[in-house]
Symmetry: C2
Subunit: 431 residues, 2 copies
């Protein structure tokens, strides 16, 4: 084995297959890419056992990626339904999939997914711990958590969320700084309950070096979870959140020293005017590690529409440096998303990512909009649908309401500005 | 008559009935409000003939308002359908209605609407000109356009969009600065076609003093239209747009000298990183006049989802000083919106406005989020629905997927972080 992880390869100047994929997709030279990967600014999640993966990079200078969550649980127990969701997600341009399975034959599902999936797969081992170890949470021994982590790594999982920053210091800070909605991270709340119930330090923190050994062996990218992410706009940017972020920054350096790739997870709920400062803080405190955000949701009051509140925050975050957006569906806070919710969530996240890419000046981003607007000026409906982020919905809209003239739509009818301007600029005099 | 317009009253220190409504709604003292209205920073659109109107203010220090478009046209000819839309829009919290009727019995519809509507009604006289004057656009005499304006004013219309900034100077600038999608403003393109076809100056510019006489008499707030708003992100912030904005700034001062209230209309399509600069420019070049934006849409590539691209831009705009957001529906660029599209558009616009209000520090804004998040922490579903920006959709979501335990939802099931934290903080040890 010439190298362990993509970061190790980059440090040694070795060009991997995945780096070639990335260089092509991102219109970037291999030298520049290798430098970014070696310094941890870019992560290429690619477990050595996930052999059919295509390289996909997250971080500085890369296009903003989006993640789609799915998985089997008590309330969504059909593997076939979840596999159907996965296939639709890939078709619609999802860049990564997180398998959040927490009940039932999670191992079978995970392996099935990895066998066919060409994009990075992430998991949260905490969600699978009780099922995997077949015992109540409070009765799990510290090192047993590492066994779940190892099992996922062996199966080929490309990135794993661990809430290693929720250590005793962070818990102390949480106790000293009251917040409105406490801990809203699912994995974080489970670790917190385990720590309170057993009196022990967080095992992912205490045995972080062992985690790194496993991660390096398989090239698992650590996604350092933010247990203290604000669960409401009132808790945003508080001492709990920023304190944990500093812990994640220290863990990032330890991981990089072991050639382990890192992404840092971020908020959460956050007023729109705090987002830019938070992006800056993460890049500073976590030494330029890629930032993976869930939202941010810019208001708490819109259940049923949180794909929109998240798209607003995600676009602002991406424009200010976030690298990876976790999709949020209209079902957030209410129920498990169905296939329709997933589609709405994917499109909203892709809009946010692309809006960010235009602002970031990612090569090729604004050209897409140019092609669309050229089609619009030419009133070329076929080209407009072809360029649409989702061709299905606009086509259905137009077909539902056929206009009198092919070169208009029913929105403006004969008053279509594109049509009027075309005629005026061609010298027509009679309107 | 003690005063002509709300601005005239404010300059004379007279407190109007509408100012009292505004002071109560906006938690602001009358002295401060009067000062803002007198200086044009705040407009209170309220035609003297629209007698059942409740005061609603747009501008500095006010909560961000949203406008809902509707109206009868060739493709939406049923007055009853449009009246039903109007009623739903008011029920959902629309702050103003623009009646964009352009075909059929527009006068009957307008009067019907004004008779029952307590919020400001806006129109675009250009849309109604051909129908009102019963002749082809190119054959309309300059001053005849003023007759349409006067008729709407007499009927009680509170604010009217006129594209007076599209004068010969602006047309010259348009010719000297090529842009991808030319003029995408419906009214603007009609004025342009009329100017090209007749060789005349824009009548709303040429006879602006006569427009002001009518506007002052009835207290019509001018909504100075942006014919040159960018129709694609590539055209954003170009010389055509900024040149026209300077014309609008000069017209604003002329209007204020006649005690006529003004709002300035703005983009359009615009990359997210240009929005803040544009808000600053409008406030500077138009002397602090309220800014009424359509979008901005932060990408061109998402037909079918433009309520989301507009919510992103609208939230950023509002956070940076935009005062009034025109709603955009998922049907934008594709067809006339139906009732469902209108609802989605209203909620998206209200989310954007509220996200902006949180950032602006508008009194009461963040408290709404506080109440929602308290309900969420308490896992109090009834309170959550009561606080939701739209209670219908989240309730339907939850009812569609009943969870095993009442104090969870199917999203996280037993792993609900709110539930875990409640148990942990109450001292429970067994998880």
């Amino acid at each position: 084995m010439e190298y362990t992880t993509q970061m190790d390869a980059a440090k040694k100047g070795i060009v991997t297959r995945q780096m070639r994929d990335v260089a092509e997709r991102e219109h970037i030279g291999l030298d520049q890419l290798i430098d970014l990967v070696a310094r941890g600014k870019v992560a290429i999640p690619a477990n050595r056992n996930h052999t059919n993966i295509k390289g996909c990079a997250v971080g500085e200078r890369m296009s903003t990626k989006i993640n789609v969550n799915l998985g089997i649980s008590k309330d969504a127990s059909s593997m076939d339904d979840e596999i159907a969701k996965y296939r639709k997600a890939i078709e619609m341009g999802g860049d990564a999939i997180m398998d959040l399975s927490c009940f039932g034959k999670t191992k079978t599902f995970r392996r099935k997914l990895l066998a066919e999936c060409p994009v990075p797969i992430g998991t949260v081992p905490m969600y699978d711990a009780v099922g995997f170890l077949e015992k109540g949470l409070s009765h799990i021994e510290p090192r047993e958590f590492l066994e779940v982590f190892r099992a996922h790594a062996e199966d080929g999982v490309d990135f794993m969320t661990i809430h290693a920053g929720l250590n005793r210091r962070t818990v102390e800070r949480f106790k000293a700084n009251r917040r409105l909605t406490n801990i809203v991270s699912r994995g974080g709340s489970l670790i917190f309950a385990w720590m309170i119930s057993t009196g022990n330090e967080n095992p992912f923190y205490e045995y972080f070096d062992e985690v790194l050994d496993i991660a390096e062996k398989y090239d698992v990218t650590l996604s350092l979870g933010d247990a203290m992410r604000p669960g409401c706009i009132e808790d945003a940017s508080d001492a709990c959140q920023i304190g944990e972020l500093m812990e994640l920054g220290e863990l990032t350096l330890r991981a990089w020293a072991h050639n382990v790739q890192v992404m840092v997870e971020g908020p959460g709920h956050m007023p729109i005017d705090q987002i830019a400062a938070n992006m800056l803080l993460e890049k500073r405190l976590c030494h330029g590690a890629p930032f993976y955000v869930l939202g941010p949701l810019v208001t708490d009051v819109a259940p049923g529409y949180d794909h929109i509140t998240a798209a607003i925050g995600g676009a602002v975050a991406a424009a200010n440096g976030a690298d990876f957006l976790c999709y949020v569906t209209p079902a957030e806070h209410l129920r498990l998303p169905d296939l329709h919710d997933m589609k709405e969530g994917i499109v909203a996240a892709k809009i946010a990512a692309h809006a960010g890419d235009i602002a970031k000046g990612i090569p090729g981003a604004a050209q897409w909009d140019h092609r669309m607007s050229e089609a619009r000026r030419n009133i070329d409906w076929k080209a407009m649908f072809a360029e649409a982020i989702d061709p299905e919905k606009p086509r259905a809209y137009r077909e539902s309401s056929p206009p009198e003239h092919e070169d208009t739509c029913t929105m403006c009818g004969e008053m279509c500005a594109m049509r009027t301007m075309r005629r005026a600029l061609e010298g027509e005099k009679e309107f």
